[in-house]
Symmetry: C2
Amino acid sequence: MSETTNHGSVRDRSREDIYDLILESGGMTRSELAEATGISRSAVTSAVGRLIREGRAVESEPDSKGPGSGSGRPANRITAVASGLPVAAMDFGHNHVWVAVADSLGNALGDSLTVIDVDYNATEAMDLAAAALDALRHEHGITTISNVVCGIPGPVDARTGLVKSPTILSSWVGLSPAQELGHRLGAPVHIENDAVLGAHGELRLGAGRHHKDFLYIKASHGIGAGIVIGGKPFTGSTGIAGEIGHTQLPNNTELCRCGKRGCLETVVSVQSMRKQLQHTHPHLDVTQLDLSTLDDAISARMLNEAGRTIGRVLADLCNLINPGAIIIGGELGASGEALIDGVRSSVHRYAQPATAAALEISAAELGTRAELTGALQLAAWRAQR
Amino acid sequence: MSETTNHGSVRDRSREDIYDLILESGGMTRSELAEATGISRSAVTSAVGRLIREGRAVESEPDSKGPGSGSGRPANRITAVASGLPVAAMDFGHNHVWVAVADSLGNALGDSLTVIDVDYNATEAMDLAAAALDALRHEHGITTISNVVCGIPGPVDARTGLVKSPTILSSWVGLSPAQELGHRLGAPVHIENDAVLGAHGELRLGAGRHHKDFLYIKASHGIGAGIVIGGKPFTGSTGIAGEIGHTQLPNNTELCRCGKRGCLETVVSVQSMRKQLQHTHPHLDVTQLDLSTLDDAISARMLNEAGRTIGRVLADLCNLINPGAIIIGGELGASGEALIDGVRSSVHRYAQPATAAALEISAAELGTRAELTGALQLAAWRAQR
DNA sequence: ACGGTTTCGTGCGTTGACGGATCGAAAGAG
DNA sequence: CTCTTTCGATCCGTCAACGCACGAAACCGT
């Protein structure tokens, strides 16, 4: 069953398959392509030849020569070339907007971070983001952008493009940021949950590269999950999968903004960490504190405990979908090994032994840039459709 | 990306795609095939012509004629023909073995149910199952079986084929039933978790036909889940996804066979229902009672409460994967609307509103035959590889 | 009753992708 | 320096896919 969007005819399917492969892997030899696609080397050669003639790919030098690299003639590496228009990405957080531009393959050219209260006024935040992107465009001499992907820390309905409740950005609920930003930028804008984008980034360029099925957890001001199944991001039947921040914890009655009590987000979040730090470290200014700079035993224990709380929720979810990895991103994921260790110990304690044994738990390789990177990758991919 | 197992070359890919489509859908017109595959009608015609010449498909009469059926020439329906060897299935339960034979398309020819204590002695149960299948074969004049799929109510490691712990069948843990049954039957045997098979059955012939993403819950002596994502069963990175029976419930300390306390299975299962019924209905013999025959208010309330307990666990899982449907199977799923209503009310209460709104919750259309039917379907599919 | 419309099925010529075979090129191994 | 191994390029026979045109089989309106 060809799930690919047959743009045109099926005759070019193999060539597009090959192009997708060299695009996603970032360089393969003809033999590897023949192996991966199952078509003959001669067919691969002709397809690659056409891609090169069309300027969509280039042939680079063989990477490893010299004794010990195996006998036989070394293979040349085929690489995709950035021939199309640049793309852009936006990452809206609780109190920042992070915008970036990239070439048509999604390789970042530059980015700029603006600190504002994004939640206070959605329209103003979007104006500011559009202005920041304009400035970045001029800085890099870019006139036209073909595609923009924009991450929102909340559920996005895939059919309507509307921001659903509950989300960190309560003033955004019911808005259609794709339309509004599309007007401002004059380019097609796709809105996506930020955890899904983080999963995308780690899948292509991070800790998820060697996993077919994994969970990406964005643990920041809220907690969301991005799911990768079979090597592809999965967003559910209506696009709002991954809403794990409002799982109810036993023995916890704190009121959540979603109206329920005892949600995971009320216990584990950047805000709650800062609140606790204010008690344990009264001399610190915690309002803009980078959690990864902490290295004392007390905060390590605090972060470890936060990780254990997350891990308890993740354990049940892992029993359901049996992932190959869990990748923790967001500010809490970047805070250090203490939190990751907490997740590990809790998952191993509460999940089925066989499930836990097959599970790698790690921090996001791309750190807090995972969402932005994934958005650029997704924008580059979407620009070619 | 061609995920299909390229058996041979890619030149026949479209024809095999078409064959898979008419196989899984059970009859499509040429135009529908052209629409679904994206290739032209003339190419479909030639591929279909070759399938018919090869005896793998037949052309049946147009299904709906007469006024009101839309104008234009009615389309003929292309159906796959059972040309290969028959297949078989086995469904091991807590105290029964259910075996069946089907033609090469998975259409059931006959089945037989044997009541024994399957858990007591795994080897004996397999001997008995093999004997029952042999009897069924002779009854239908079948000499050779090409493929057998066998359902087990417990986790099955996809790589090793071993039964993992915890499972209802504790004496089976560590065994490799695929090998043992393969010796007895002289045919390739594939072992699969029974909830996965139930999901397969409902996906092809039941309530999952019109859903791409759903959860099938087998609620019987244990509780397991089968996951369908993107129209395909998903079994996790090591094949043991769906183990939701040992999710810990708050405020519940009953000891479970898995060693933990407060597992879902200890509260909701056929055994616990029977135990409760023994108290409320002292005159009944509950040991072999069919739960679907109950129609009094007391047992309805009891089943409703059981449904609510299941629903509470499912709510968190739905927030993660945002499925389009939940299908409840097993003996408890077939017990009536009271339990289903309990699941509904609990999911709507504890899941995110947007997630719950996009969710259809229903009983398995195939009832307790879902697992057996799915096993036959899967066996037919596997026989063609 | 009879065209008009719509949709389905099919035959045909052209295109070009696939697969197999062959040969040369570029490296390492002995 | 020769042998082996692997990769790349080329040629050619085959055949799937496309587009188009035409006929077939139904419904619909007058």
